[in-house]
């Protein structure tokens, strides 16, 4: 049994034994080499090929459908070896024995990276290929792609050195000015002749041939480009994966080890989270996909990269899924703990004589607190801060103020505390745990701009609303900060401008309208 190869010889289709194919190919290569220097050498080869096809057709019949070594030998015997063709091999001959002694530019298919253009230029110019590739790369990057087009054009135009004689030409003597001139002239003559010999039919054939060659090389170029692109993608994947893992490690280590006077683990535990487990889960959740990115990149870069066996993969996948489940449980629990809202109301009475003017002032910092400014963990409106004993507490400036006339003959501030929880009772408890203290001494009422709560209460949408209610005909003053905490709707409802309200003596009249007592 023999393996057969399918060949196209001058547009005839043949099946040929592999051994016979090798013989035929080397025979054709010999012919090509012997006519390589000759003008019209390609044409001679084509003619010979079409005659070979004819001879094979004569030799084959219904019984024998495959060309064997015997047929090839017979046909070569008829056609003869290339040296036998040369019936005018005169030592003095000059017309057809003009074997050139200068180099020709070929693509070097043996040392190619993409198309062998750079390797070919290496032989032609006598410069190391590394420098040539570097120049192309620089032209590609800094020459807005000039390098790319030069390369593509050279790839299409410059033939690949296939036969021995072409390879010898490729590596021949270095080029000099005289040689280049000669070559250029020769090139022109060739073109001139070709133009003269134009024949419609021939042109059509040549075009057909060349366009198929062009598309073939286009496809070839595209596949090569895709190859290079894939390698680049591989490198990018590895870099992305590695930097992802590095960033995760750095992030987690910073949290764990950088000392800013805060015990994170404790704070998180008080908040109800296991920081250690969360960190580990987060690490796996991020770094395992990153690891597979690197894996993929390696696979792309080198086809024989195996990685490790399946048990390792299974462990990684389990770790990943476990982390995902763990973190999402925490997330779901978080959501559940925010399900219900509750409000807790209390009233702060402002004791004052009827003739006094009450001053409302806002304080930013209750002197009893002295927190660490370096630390501020922000969850929406509620933050976690650290007091001077390094204990965490909840802190929020979510204090909304409204001003209105009192209908019950009392000057008072209604304090409405809001929080969320799994159920109504828990939410209410949280709301009660909001610490807020209004200080009233003589005629000055100090309103803090913030509230706090013990850290155990966790961040659960804590909010504070204050309703300042003043009896009609009682004079009072507001400072700028108090005014700033008024809600937008309230400011509009009150009807006075900012300038009229801040630091002016104000009162509500009998019809509960806000009036300015000392405005011009």
């Amino acid at each position: 049994m023999n393996k057969t190869v399918s060949i196209n010889l001058s547009n005839f289709h043949f099946f040929i034994d592999e051994e016979a194919y090798k013989k035929l190919k080397s025979y054709l290569d010999r012919i090509r080499a012997s006519f390589a220097q000759e003008q019209g050498g390609d044409e001679i080869l084509q003619d010979i090929e079409s005659r070979l096809a004819e001879l094979f057709n004569e030799h084959l019949n219904d019984q024998a459908q495959v060309i064997t070594l015997k047929e090839v030998n017979d046909v070569i015997a008829i056609m003869g070896e290339p040296q036998e063709f040369e019936i005018d091999e005169e030592p003095t001959g000059e017309s057809n024995s003009k074997r050139t002694d200068y180099k020709k530019l070929y693509r070097d298919g043996e040392n190619e990276y993409i198309g062998g253009v750079c390797a070919g230029l290496q032989h032609y110019l006598g410069i190391n290929v590394v420098w040539i590739r570097l120049i192309f790369l620089l032209l590609l990057i800094f020459g807005t792609g000039v390098g790319f087009w030069i390369y593509i054009i050279l790839w299409i135009v410059v033939p690949e050195a296939k036969t021995t004689s072409q390879k010898l030409d490729m590596m021949g003597k270095p080029v000099n000015l005289g040689n280049i001139e000669k070559k250029v002239k020769e090139g022109f003559e060739e073109v001139e002749k070709k133009v003269k010999n134009v024949d419609a039919k021939e042109v059509e054939n040549v075009l057909k041939h060349n366009s198929s060659r062009f598309f073939k090389s286009l496809v070839f170029i595209l596949t090569k480009l895709v190859k290079v692109l894939i390698k680049v993608i591989g490198v990018i994947l590895i870099i992305a994966g590695a930097s992802g893992i590095a960033a995760t490690c750095i992030g987690l280590l910073t949290w764990s080890f950088i000392d800013i006077g805060v015990d994170f683990a404790q704070i998180f535990e008080q908040l109800g989270y296991q920081l250690g487990w969360i960190s580990i889960a987060a690490f796996f959740l991020i770094s395992i996909p990153m690891y597979y990115l690197i894996h993929l990149g390696m696979r792309i870069l080198s086809s024989n990269f195996k990685g490790h066996k399946w048990p390792a993969h299974i462990i990684l996948v389990i770790l990943f899924l476990g982390s995902a489940v763990f973190l999402s449980t925490i997330g779901i629990r978080e959501l559940q703990e925010q399900k219900k809202v509750a409000e807790v109301n209390s009233v702060e009475l402002i004791q004052t004589r009827a003739t006094d003017t009450i001053s409302f002032e806002m304080i930013n910092n209750n002197k009893s607190f002295n927190w660490n400014d370096n630390f501020d963990l922000n969850f929406d409106d509620v933050e976690i801060r650290i007091d001077k004993d390094k204990n965490g507490f909840l802190f929020s400036e979510e204090v909304k103020l409204t001003l209105g006339a009192s209908r019950n003959e009392q000057n008072q501030i209604n304090i409405i505390k809001t929080a969320r929880g799994k159920n109504k009772a828990l939410a209410e408890k949280r709301a009660e745990n909001i610490d807020y203290l209004i200080e009233s001494n003589s005629n000055i009422t100090l309103i803090p701009s913030f509230f706090t709560s013990p850290i155990e209460n966790k961040v659960r949408g804590q909010k504070l609303k204050l309703q300042i209610q003043i009896r009609p005909n009682t004079y009072f003053k507001l400072d700028q900060k108090v005014y700033n905490h008024f809600t937008y709707e309230n400011r509009r409802m009150l009807g006075l401008t900012r300038g009229e309200m801040i630091n002016h003596t104000l009162f509500f009249n009998e019809t509960y309208e806000l009036k300015c007592a000392d405005c011009n």
């Binding site: 019209g40 003619d47 079409s50 004819e54 056609m79 024949d199 039919k201 021939e202």
Partner: protein, 114 residues
């Protein structure tokens, strides 16, 4: 001077002359030319013909036209150019003279020997 070279040169000249003579009557494609040449045992190997045809074409002595064939791809039909015709005319004359000369010389020579 090698005998091989002399023979080769003689054959080349004669071969060109014969090809032109064959094509003088009507255009032929390579395989038909080969058949004619093989009939008269002028060719040792077929491969010889193709470089010759191409060179003659390049020298503008021959030209070719592609013609469709029933049994395969288009064929190149070679034909003599006007330049080739006058070239052949010259060869005719030269060949006539040569034949005469050779005949005379070899005849005398043979007669002397016998």
């Amino acid at each position: 001077m090698k005998i091989e070279n002399t023979k080769a040169q003689m054959r080349k000249g004669i071969l060109e002359y014969c090809i032109l003579s064959i094509l003088q009557e009507h255009p032929l494609y390579a395989s038909e030319i080969l058949t004619k040449l093989k009939e008269v045992k002028l060719l040792v190997v077929e491969g010889t013909l193709y470089p010759l045809l191409t060179r003659l074409k390049n020298a503008e002595i021959l030209e070719y036209k592609w013609e469709e064939s029933k049994s395969g791809p288009p064929r190149k039909y070679y034909n003599i150019t006007p330049k080739g015709a006058s070239f052949l005319e010259e060869l005719h004359v030269t060949w006539g003279e040569l034949k005469q000369a050779v005949n005379n010389v070899t005849k005398n020579h043979h007669e002397q020997n016998s």
